[in-house]
Symmetry: C2
Subunit: 84 residues, 2 copies
């Protein structure tokens, strides 16, 4: 079972990296770029076939270790790869 | 039109950050964690309604600025938000 976690700054929190990339792209001639938000993506490969178990674990990882809840928000997506 | 770009190290390229997170999680008691890969996610908001145009632009951004093709690979996902 694989879990994909997306971590972004919360809306309203200034994203300096995204801002810099946005300006760089516009300077390079990509005039259609309106704004850019940068985030992290974490793929966690888990030794379990239970969706419930994986989800509970990953949620706990996010709440205790991976995410700073003051400025970041996260989304979890589970990808069941099967065995055959 | 929003484009979401996922950037990961290519398979076979050592991912030190993912490795560190994996070890930290296992130390914290998440024994079901097999491995972790860390990547970047970039949401690009574009002033266009054309999927073709957006895709071409974002592909060019990746090839020229956002991605290091020696060690990284990317995937583009277009999200048409509509107007109503």
């Amino acid at each position: 079972m694989k879990a994909r976690v997306h971590i972004f700054y919360k809306d309203g929190v200034f994203d300096p990296q995204g801002n810099t990339v946005s300006q760089a792209l516009q300077r390079q001639g990509f005039s259609r770029v309106a704004s850019v938000r940068m985030g992290k993506v974490i793929d966690v490969e888990m030794n379990t076939t239970s969706t419930e178990e994986a989800k509970r674990d990953v949620q706990k990882m996010c709440d205790t270790l991976l995410v700073n809840p003051v400025i970041e928000s996260y989304q979890i997506e589970l990808i069941n790869q099967g065995k055959g």
